[in-house]
Symmetry: D2
C-alpha cells in the first residue's frame, strides 16, 4: 500500500480491507484537483513553491483532470495501491513533478483537506439540488394552473373533506419543494463562508501561508475560525442530509398520494404505463412501482441522516477515523435525491387525472357541508350553532357551490391556485402564466 | 368528553385514553391565547364579530391568561373533560361571552390553528435557544481568552497530536455553538415568513377574512401560500429538531472531551464537585455524572428528530391524526436543549484546568515532531522528505518551540485564540477583551 | 438531597435537576422490593444480617409495599429528597430498622441492582405483552373464521390482485402477532437465565455471598457470568424494544389497511363510531382517528429502540450514567405497546365489513385473471405462455371461480383460513372452532 | 428490458434506472438456484413438469451454477437486460429447456420467491455469524485465561473503580458475544420453521402443489401459515439486523475501550502496528484506525435496522415495491458484520497489555477503598457506616489486597475469570484450559 507516512510494517489484511478508501473517495476527485490548485497558489505566495514548480503542478493537474475526470465523474478509480485519494494525487504529482509534488502537502493535512472537500461537495450538491428542484417546482406550477379547474375532493384523515382542485393538490408540493429549494440556497451560501483548508491536522501550521488566498481560489468567503472545530465537525453533511430528509418526506407524501389516486377504487389518475410494471404471476396487474420506489428509495436519505448522527455521537474533538464512513453516505444521498427529483418530475409531467372519475367522486362524502354551514354563518348564525345544525344532514351535491368559493388566500379555489402558482414561477424567474 | 363536533356515541375508553390531549397541548396555551386575539381581530374586520363581541372576547382572554398562565407556563391543565386545548378555550370563551365564543372558530379549523401554534412555538423556542446559546458562546470565549496560554496537547484519533492550548480547545465549541446559534436565528426569521392561520381544515374558507390581519397580529410576514401544504407539513418542527440535533452532537462532543480530561490517567481538569456524584458501594469514587447526563440526555433530541421523520414518513396530504404525536416531542426537545445549554454553561464556567498536569502531558507523544518537520521545510527540504526524516525520531521536548508558532489564521496559537474569541464576542454584541 | 454517599458540597442546581431520578425510577418499585427480600436472604445466609434483622427488613418491606404500591403501581413517588429509588428505599429501611437498613447494601451496588431491576421489568413486560397478544390473536382468529367466506379483493402494490377473504386478511395479523408473541415468550425465558445481582459495582465483592440464593429468590436460573458485562450491557432492553418494534410495525400495517378500507371510495368497512371523531370545522367528517393514533403512537416504540441504540453507541465498559436515560424509555414503550394492543383488539372486535361493498369491489381489477391463467395451465399450456395469453384480456367476473380455489396450504381460501385460525387457537390453548 | 410480464410500452428511463435490480439481487443467486430445484420437485409431484422436464431443469441449473457461482459468490451479474434475478434465471432456463423453463414459475410468484430467498439468506447469514462469533468468543476466552492474573483498574463512569484483571475485562466481551451468538442460533432455528414458497403473489394458487415438498427440499420445517403475511412481512430481516445491532454495539464498546487503553496518558496496551496508520502531516502519529473503523463501520448495521423500520413503517398488506430496497441493506449488513468480527478477532489476538503501565495505574484512584470498607463490614460495621468512614481517606496501595479477593461468582477475580472462560469454552465445544 502506498502511504504518505513511513510504514515499517504491513497492515493486517482484514484491517487493510476496511482501511483503503480510494474507491470511496473517488467522487471527490474534481474537488481534490481544484483544491490542489488553490493550495499551490498559497504555497507559491508563501515562497514554498517556486513559480516554475507551481506551473509544473498546474500542468500535472491538467493532465490528471484530462485523464481521470469526465463531465460526469467516473465512479471507479484507476488500479492503484494508494491508501486514499489524497495519497494517490500526491503520488501522481510527485511522479510528474518530483520535489514540487513532495512539497504540495506543506502546511496541510488530510484532515483539513477532507473537511474542505466535503464542504465543496455539499455546496456543489446543494447547487445541483437547487436547480433540479427549480425544475420540479416549475413543472408543478404549470400543471397546477392546467389543473386549477379540475375539481377534486381534498382529503383530511384520508377521508373526503371539501372541494378543491387537482391544482390545489399539486400546489401543495410546489410550495413544499420551493421551500426546500430555498433551504439549499441558504445552506450553500452559508457553507461558503468558512474554508477549512489551512487548519492542518488540528492546530494549523507553523508555516505562514495566507489562507485567504486558498479561500478565494475555492470560492469561499474566508478561512474558518478554529482548526479543531474545522477538522472535527461535519455540520455541512448533517445539514445537507437534514434538508434532504425534508425533501425525501415530501417526495414520499407525493408518492403516497399518487398511489392512493391510482388505487383500484379511486382510479382518479390514469397511471402512466411507462412508470408501471406487471406481475410475474397475475396477468391483470399494472403496479405503480415508480411511486413505490420513490417512497422506498427516499428512506435512504432519512436513514443517511440518522446514520451520520449515530456516527458522530460521542466522538471526541479532533479528527477521528469514524469520519471516513460519512463520505459514501453523503455521496449516495445526494445522488439518490437528484435521481428521485427527476423521477418525481417525470411522473408529474406524465400523469393525467380522469375528470369523470373526479366528478363522480365529488358526489361522495358530503363535501359541501362546510360551505352550507358557512352560508348559515353568512346569514348570522354563530359558527358552532351552524356546525351542529349541518351535522348528519344528507344533502345532494349542489353544482353551483363550487370550489371557487374557497377564496381565502392560498386556499383551494381555482383563482387562488393560479395566483399562487404564478407567485412561485415569478420567484423562480420564470414567466407567469396568464 | 366535551367536543367541538356533535357526538352521538361515547368513544371507546381505550381510544379515548390515547385521544384526549388537553395535557399534551397545554404548553401551547400562551400561543393559543395570542392566536385567539389575532383571529378575533380578523373576524371583526370581516364583520363576523361585532366590536362589542370582540371586546368581550379580549376581556375573556385576559381573564384566562391571568388565571392559567404564569411567566413560566404551568405544565398541568385544569380538570376538564375537553377533548383538547382548542376545545377547552372555545368552551371557556363561550361560557364567558355566549355567541361571541360560538363565533370564534369561524373561517378556522383546528388544522390551521395547530399548524400556526407549532410555528409560533418553533419561533419562540428558536429565540430562547438563540439567547441561551449566546450566553454559552460568550462564556466559552471568555474562558478561551483566559486559557489561551495554557498549553495542552491537542489530539486527533484520541492520541496526542500537536501543542495547542486549553483556549484553542474551548474555542472549538464557541465556534460550533455560534454556528448553531446563527442557524436558529435564520430559521426563526424564515418561519415567520408564512402564517398558516386561515388555511382552514384543508381548503381555506368561503368566508372572506383578511389573512394579512392575522399574520400581522401574530408577527408573521404574511399568510401561507397553500392550505394543503400549510396544514399537512411540519417542516418547522423538523428544522427545529435538526438544528437541535447538531447542537446535541456538539454538546456530546464537549461531554466526551470533558470526561476524557477528567479520567484518572489524564486528570487535566479538576472536575468540579458540584457536578459530580459518588458511589453507593465504592467510597473512592467521584463520577463526572453531569457530563455523562449531558451526553446521555442530548440523545433524546437526536432521537426526537428520527421519531418525527418516522411519524411523517408516507403520510398522505391533509391533516392526519398522527401529527398529534409530534407535539410533546418538540415540547420536550426544546426544553431539554435549554436545560442542557444551562448545564454545559455552568460546567464550563466552573471547571479549572490543572496546569501542572498539562505541563507534564506535553512531554509525551512527541508533540513537537510537526514543528521540527516544518523547520526542515523552512530550510528548503520538501515536506514529504522532511516528514519521513522526522518519523521515529525521539527528541526531548524543546520548551522554546511553543504553541505560539501555529500562526496560521484560526489555528491553535494563543494569539489566534484571543483574536478569534474577540471575533465571536463582537458578533454577539459583547465587548472584545484586550 | 439524600444520598448513599458522603457529600461535602451541594450539587449545582441545574445538574441536580437532571440528576435526581426518584420519579423516573418509581415504576421499578415492585421489583425493588422483591430484590431487597432476595438480597436480605443472601445476606442472612452469609452471616451479614442476623435472623432478627432479616425479619425486621421483611416487615419493613411489607409496610412499604402496603403503603406505596397498589395493583397498578402508582406513577408518582412520595415527596422525598432522595437521589433515586435505591436511596429512598435504603433510607426507608434504615428509618424502620436501624443498622439492618445500613447493612442492606452490603455486597451490592446500584449498578448490579438496576441491571437486575431492568431484567425483572423486561421479563414482567414480556409476560404481560405475551398475554395481551394472546388475546389479540384469539380475537383475530375468531373474526377470521367469521369472515372466512366474506370475499374481498386482496391487494399487492395497493392494487386489486386476486380474490381472497376478509378472513384471509385478518389471519395475516393473527399469524404475525402470534409470531411476535412467541418471541416475547422466548426472550422472557432467556432473560431469566442470568441474574446480574451480586456483580457489585463492576467487580463483585470480597464478601462471599451466595448469588444462587439471590437468583433463586428472584426467579432466575442462576447468577450472571461476568460482572463487567452484567453492569454495562442493556441487551434485554434492546431486545424488548426490538421485538416491540416488530409489533409496532405490524400494528401500523393493520392501521394502514383499516384506514384504506374506510376511505371514502372503498367504504369496505363500517368504521365504528366509538373509534372516530369529527371535525371542528367540517360537519360532514367522521375520521378514523383511532387507527391514525395506532399508527402514530406505535412510532414511539421504534423510535425508542433507535434512541437506546444511540444512547449505548460507543460507551466504554462499566456503568456510565447515560444508562439512566434508558429507564423511562423502556417504561413508556412497554406501557404504550400494552395500550396499543388493547386498542387494536377493541377495534378488530368492533369493526364490520360491508358485504355489498366488497361484492361490488370484486367486479373491478380483473381479479380472476390468475385463475383463468391457471386453468390454461391445468390444460397443459406452459405458465408463461398462459400468462401472456391472459394479459390485457377483459373478462367479466365469473362467480363460479371463487376464492375457495386458492387451495394451496396457508393461502386465501375460506377452508384454509378456518384451518389456519384453528392451528393458532390450538397453539394458544383455546378451543378450535368447528 | 426482459420481463416476465407482457410489456407494451418501454419504461421511462429514469424509472428504469431505479427499477432494474439484477445487480442488487445477485447475492441471492445460490439460494435462487436451490429454490428452483425445490420448486421443480414440487411441480413434478403435482404433474406440472414431467420427469424429463424436471431433469432438464436440474441439468440447466447445474450449468448455471457452474458458470455463475463460485465458493464466494461473485458480486457482479453477467451483462443482461433482465429486470431482476428471477427474470434472468427463468430466461436462462427457458433458453436451455424450452417449455420446461416456461413452466417453472407455475404456482409461484416473485413475491413468495423473494420472501423465501430472504429467509434463506437470513438463515445462512446467521449460521455464518454464529460460526465467526464462536471463533471470536474462543479467542477472547483464551486471552482471558492468559490475562487472568494481569491486574488492571476496572472503571465505572470512565474513572478507576476497583482492581480487576485484563482477563475480567476481556471476559466481558466473551460473555456478550456468546449471548449474541446464541441469539443467532435461536433465530436461524425459528426462521427455518416456516417456508413462504407456495404463497404465490398474495393468495396462493389454484394449482395444488404440495408445499411440504418445497419446504423439505429447502430445509424448512413446513410451509408458512398465511400467504398475505408471508409475502408482506420481513421479520427475519428485522431480526437479523436487530441482533446485528446488539453485536455492533458490543463491538463499538470494545473499540472504545481499546482506544482508551491506547490513549497517550493510558498506554496500557502496546497498540499493534499492523492495525495502526500514520499521519500525512504529523510524523509522530500512530493512530488506532482499526478500532476507529470498527466503531465507525458498526454504525452501518444499527443504521440498517433503523432504515428497514423506516421502509416498512405504514406499508399496507401485500407485497409493495418498497420492499425491494431492503435487499442490499441486509446483504451489506451481514457482510459488514462478518468482516468486523474478523477485525475484532484479529485485533484481540494481536494486542498485548503493558504490565508495568497497568501496575503503575493501580496506584491511582484509591481502587482499594471498597476492599477496605468491606474489611470493616467483615468486622461487624454496617456497610453504610463503613462506606462513609472510608470516604475521603487517602491510603497507600496495599499489594496484599489483590483482585483475587473479589470472589463473588462471575466477578473480577483471577480464579473466576478462568472458571467462567472455561464455562464458555465448554459451551462452544472447545477444550477447557487448566
Amino acid at each position: 500500500m502506498t502511504t504518505l507516512w513511513k510504514q515499517a510494517q504491513t497492515l493486517h489484511p482484514t484491517f487493510e480491507r476496511f482501511h483503503r478508501c480510494l474507491e470511496d473517495d473517488w467522487f471527490l476527485l474534481d474537488h481534490e484537483i481544484t483544491l490542489q490548485r488553490a493550495h499551490a497558489a498559497a504555497l507559491l505566495d508563501a515562497g514554498i513553491l517556486t513559480a516554475a514548480e507551481t506551473q509544473a503542478i498546474g500542468l500535472a493537474l491538467d493532465e490528471i483532470q484530462a485523464t481521470h475526470t469526465t463531465p460526469h465523474a467516473p465512479p471507479t478509480p484507476p488500479a492503484s495501491d494508494a491508501e486514499d485519494l489524497h495519497t494517490w494525487i500526491e503520488a501522481e504529482l510527485t511522479a510528474r513533478t518530483g520535489d514540487a509534488g513532495r512539497k504540495i502537502h506543506t502546511a496541510r493535512s488530510r484532515n483539513d483537506q477532507v473537511a474542505t472537500l466535503l464542504s465543496m461537495h455539499a455546496i456543489a450538491s446543494a447547487e445541483r439540488l437547487t436547480k433540479k428542484l427549480g425544475g420540479l417546482v416549475e413543472t408543478l406550477c404549470r400543471r397546477s394552473i392546467e389543473w386549477s379547474d379540475l375539481q377534486l375532493p381534498l382529503q383530511t384523515h384520508a377521508q373526503f373533506a371539501a372541494p378543491g382542485s387537482a391544482g390545489a393538490w399539486s400546489m401543495r408540493y410546489a410550495t413544499a419543494f420551493d421551500r426546500v429549494r430555498e433551504q439549499f440556497v441558504h445552506h450553500a451560501q452559508r457553507w461558503r463562508r468558512s474554508c477549512p483548508l489551512g487548519s492542518g491536522a488540528v492546530a494549523g501550521s507553523s508555516i505562514a501561508i495566507d489562507r485567504k488566498i486558498q479561500a478565494a481560489h475555492l470560492g469561499f468567503d474566508g478561512p474558518s475560525l478554529n482548526a479543531l472545530d474545522a477538522t472535527t465537525t461535519r455540520d455541512e453533511c448533517l445539514e445537507l442530509l437534514a434538508v434532504g430528509t425534508q425533501l425525501a418526506l415530501h417526495l414520499q407524501s407525493l408518492a403516497t398520494d399518487g398511489i392512493a389516486f391510482s388505487q383500484t377504487p379511486f382510479a382518479w389518475i390514469a397511471y402512466p404505463a411507462p412508470f408501471a410494471t406487471g406481475s410475474s404471476m397475475m396477468p391483470n396487474k399494472s403496479n405503480p412501482d415508480a411511486l413505490e420506489l420513490l417512497r422506498g428509495e427516499a428512506n435512504s436519505v432519512s436513514a443517511a441522516h440518522a446514520h451520520v448522527v449515530l456516527l458522530l455521537k460521542g466522538l471526541p474533538s479532533g479528527y477521528n477515523r469514524d469520519l471516513q464512513c460519512i463520505k459514501p453516505i453523503v455521496r449516495d444521498a445526494a445522488d439518490t435525491l437528484l435521481g428521485l427529483i427527476d423521477l418525481a418530475g417525470a411522473f408529474v409531467g406524465s400523469v393525467a387525472f380522469d375528470a369523470d372519475r373526479l366528478d363522480e367522486a365529488l358526489a361522495h362524502g358530503d363535501v359541501q357541508a362546510t360551505l352550507r354551514m358557512e352560508m348559515r354563518v353568512q346569514s348570522g348564525q354563530p359558527l358552532r350553532t351552524a356546525h351542529h345544525a349541518e351535522t348528519g344532514v344528507a344533502v345532494e351535491l349542489d353544482p353551483s357551490l363550487n370550489a371557487e368559493r374557497y377564496r381565502t388566500t392560498g386556499s383551494a379555489s381555482p383563482a387562488e391556485v393560479r395566483r399562487t402558482a404564478n407567485v412561485l414561477l415569478t420567484r423562480l424567474g420564470a414567466e407567469p402564466i396568464a
